[in-house]
């Protein structure tokens, strides 16, 4: 029994890792006022590039680096459409998802099903990993796990405690006012979208070179969409995203546990979205000001228009 609990929790941490990475990225992006529905696609791109590079060079870290670069690059498409062209962000984000899914399938065709010989090794943190219970759950995880938590904390710090953070958040709240204060709104938005893309790709890399050590088309399996729901669930706060992502990760794991008991997996797959709706409802009823959604999220901004 004890073993089951420990291994469930351990797998919860694993399952929460890509969710946390992608959510942190989406939070940064949405805080600047740009809605990016391309997470799922960029994740797939990240997964496939990380896999191919790791396989051919034998270096998982190089795989990670190239994946991040690829994710950032492809996100520029969404940035260009929604910032420079002021296009509809929903449409452009969906297009990015389709593009990412399609492209990754095409690039990765000849790699499907091949095993990865050198994967990203787990790190056992000395001393801590020997702790009973906690050691297994928290301190013998993949580097992605530690990185995800660290990056979420750093992002929180940047958004809340630095000038750049104030500028990014202001841009999402009121781009016109922000621009009159001498801040270059489109530059900041580009930056945020591109950083967000890097995070999504990193999440994808986790899937292919640490979590499953193989590449199959569509292996992101809706995690990108969950990250978008999580962004709302975490009320656009990377600090809150940490526990929220692992709660959602838990739901993921429980899906597999409960399936043999005859509970429909489709029902469980719905849970993250239902949870998001519920939290939105609760907060709006209690104190809508706490919702914290960037006021100008998904609104194209054009200078000189009142």
């Amino acid at each position: 029994m004890e073993d089951i609990i420990i291994s469930t929790l351990q797998r919860t941490m694993v399952a929460g890792t890509p969710l946390l990475l992608a959510t942190t990225g989406e939070i940064i992006c949405e805080r600047s006022g740009i809605l990016n529905l391309g997470v799922e696609g960029v994740m797939a791109i990240g997964a496939v590039t990380a896999f191919i590079v790791t396989m051919t060079t034998g270096s998982p870290w190089l795989g990670v680096a190239v994946a991040i670069a690829a994710g950032m690059t492809i996100s520029i498409i969404h940035a260009f459409a929604s910032i420079t062209l002021q296009a509809n962000q929903v449409v452009s984000g969906l297009a990015l998802t389709m593009l990412g899914l399609g492209l990754s399938g095409m690039i990765g065709k000849s790699y499907v099903g091949k095993p990865l010989l050198i994967k990203m090794e787990d790190w056992n943190i000395p001393w801590f990993s020997d702790l009973p219970w906690l050691g297994k759950i928290f301190f013998s995880q993949s580097p992605f796990f530690y990185l995800a938590i660290l990056l979420a904390l750093v992002s929180w710090f940047f958004l809340e405690r630095t000038r750049l953070g104030i500028e990014i958040r202001s841009t999402g709240e009121n781009p016109q006012a922000t621009e009159t204060q001498g801040v270059n709104v489109s530059k900041l938005r580009y930056l945020s979208v591109i950083i967000g893309g890097g995070f999504s790709a990193l999440a994808g890399a986790h899937l292919s070179i640490s979590y499953s050590k193989s590449w199959i088309e569509g292996m992101t399996a809706g995690r990108g969409w969950i990250a978008i729901a999580l962004t709302i669930f975490a009320l656009w706060n990377p600090g809150r995203a940490i526990w929220a992502a692992f709660v959602f990760g838990g739901i993921f794991v429980v899906q597999y546990l409960l399936q043999p008991l005859g509970i429909s997996p489709n029902f469980l797959a719905m849970l993250p979205y239902i949870a998001t709706l519920l939290i939105l409802l609760l907060i709006s009823l209690k104190d809508p000001k706490k919702l914290n959604a960037p006021a100008m999220l998904a609104e194209p901004y054009k200078r000189g228009k009142r």
Binding site: R161, N174, A177, E179, T180, Q181, G182, N184, K289
Partner: protein, 507 residues
């Protein structure tokens, strides 16, 4: 030595949808000069300044700094040239604190832990210039006057060489205006250039060295203030004489309309904003509430009009209880409301003029049949408001956000008071209106009074209060310090009462 010695705008033109907002404007300013920009609502003042600030690009014309041609493509460039601006519509991030708003614009904000340094700066500034502001409040919790103070602090901290103030004093108190004027004088002495837009001619005469008058996008006059006076400025601006005297005849007040019985109301911060206030209001009466903004005026107005819950006390209109009824129910009993932040709460910016003209009335029989609106009636009604209130717009089919600030104000006023309400609750009703419109509105309030309406007027403009009101209450920290008749001797002490250092309990 200042970066900007002279700045010239040459033959600047700008049109929107084929209609000129600025036409062939020439304007030259020099170091150490305070220039006033005057003109009716919609004359093109804000447009011209937005061009200088890089928010709009002119269709034609040149800008020159120190005799060199330059281009200003965006506000970032304009700030780098040494230009700063306080905008007519507050450019503040509503969900952020005062500190974060100031940190955003301040050049020397440190990268890490910016709030610590800015807090110090704001405290120093508030102390030096007597501008009181709570740096941790979120902007949406501030009154209009407080928001204006934040805007001014933002602009002054950066110390630009050329500062544009687009109606900075519209909701400041007389004391604060004095402070601001003395700051202007100091800046002038050290070689700054100030361009100052205001509809208050006294201020213009007092502050500016020179005044430039715009009319329908063109310059129609430019003179030194010492060679002119209020009357002739108004004449140049409007093209006819304007009388500044309003004669208010004494009339006997009628039935009691409103009774407010020891109400208390919570502010946005969760503290009491209105504490145990009682008063009554009668037909044929204008009741003024004077006080520094942020002392509970907004909460009181919102409580009476049903926007904000009242947790103790009672409000009755014509003897029937309306405490905590919905805003629409209260509107239907005959109470109209002109809110303080009209641009934010009073309009739907993307809708057309005619939609906005019936935002509150669309459910009435006049304007709708079941689920359908009677658009021809609505449009006629809109045309009437536009005529009566002299709203300048090229068509009622344009989006209301494209109107100039003052013209938006006029349309909202028209909507609220065209119905002849039993009780009109008006907060700063002349805020942003040009001289002609201000006089029109004041007369209109008096005529409502004559026809039997009651008016509850919130204003920081003491002159306006004295001119219009039959009785005056002084509010401080959520309490009435006194309720005085307009001929009461104690009115001379209204200053100390507004500051909370004197209290007269009469009732």
């Amino acid at each position: 030595m200042k970066k900007i010695q002279t700045l010239e705008m040459k033959k600047i033109s700008k049109s929107f949808h084929g209609i000129f907002a600025n036409k062939d404007i020439d304007l030259k300013v020099e170091s150490g000069e305070i220039v006033g920009l005057l003109g009716e609502n919609g004359a093109g003042k804000t447009t011209l300044m937005n061009i200088l600030y890089g928010l709009y690009q002119p269709d034609s014309g040149q800008i020159r700094i120190n005799n060199q041609d330059i281009r200003i493509n965006n506000p970032v460039e304009s700030i780098n040239f040494g230009i700063g601006m306080v905008h007519q519509h507050f450019m503040l991030i509503q969900n952020h604190s005062v500190i974060e708003n100031i940190a955003l614009g301040y050049k020397e904000t440190p990268f890490f832990f910016p709030k610590i340094k800015i807090r110090e700066k704001v405290e120093q500034f508030s102390e030096k210039f007597n501008f009181n502001i709570d740096p941790d409040k979120k902007v949406w919790q501030l009154s209009a006057g407080e928001q204006q103070r934040v805007e001014i602090i933002k602009a002054l901290l950066n110390g630009a060489d050329l500062l544009i103030f687009d109606e900075p004093t519209s909701v400041l108190t007389p004391e604060e205006i004095k402070e601001l004027i003395s700051i202007f004088r100091q800046m002038k002495a050290s070689g700054h250039i100030i361009i100052f837009i205001s509809h208050k001619l006294d201020e213009i005469m007092d502050i500016c060295d020179r005044v430039v008058v715009l009319q329908k996008g063109k310059i129609v006059g430019s003179t030194d203030t010492k060679d002119t006076d209020k009357k002739s400025l108004a004449r140049i601006m409007v093209g006819r004489d304007i009388s500044f005297n309003i004669d208010k005849k004494k009339i006997a007040r009628g039935r009691k309309i409103l009774s407010v019985d020891s109400i208390s109301v919570m502010g946005d911060k969760g503290l009491d904003a209105v504490k145990n206030i009682s008063f009554e209001l009668f037909e044929n009466e204008i009741f003024g509430v004077a006080g520094v903004s942020g002392n509970g005026q907004r909460e009181l107005a919102e409580a009476i009009t049903g926007i904000r819950p009242i947790y103790s006390g009672k409000i009755k209109i014509n003897g029937s209880d309306i405490t905590n009824k919905s805003p629409r129910d209260i509107y239907d009993t005959g109470i109209s409301h002109v809110p303080e932040e009209r641009i934010k709460f009073g309009i739907a910016p993307g809708l057309f003029l005619y939609d906005n003209a019936v935002l509150k009335q669309h459910h009435l029989k006049k304007f709708s049949r079941r689920w359908f609106l009677k658009y021809s009636k609505i449009k006629n009604h809109t045309e009437d408001i536009i005529k009566d209130f002299n709203v300048s717009t090229h068509s009622i089919n344009s989006q209301i956000r494209n109107l100039s600030g003052g013209n938006i104000q006029k349309l909202i006023l028209g909507r609220e008071i065209s119905e002849q309400p039993q009780l009109l609750v008006a907060s700063h009703p002349t805020y942003g209106l040009d001289v002609g419109a201000t006089q029109f509105l004041r007369r209109h309030l008096l005529s409502l009074r004559k026809q039997g309406s009651a008016v509850l007027l919130f204003s920081e403009d003491l002159e306006e209060i004295f001119e219009l009101c039959d009785r005056i209450a002084v509010i401080f920290d959520g309490e009435f310090m006194a309720i005085l008749d307009s001929d009461d001797k104690n009115l001379s002490e209204i200053g100390p009462m507004m500051a909370g250092s004197k209290r007269l309990k009469k009732q």
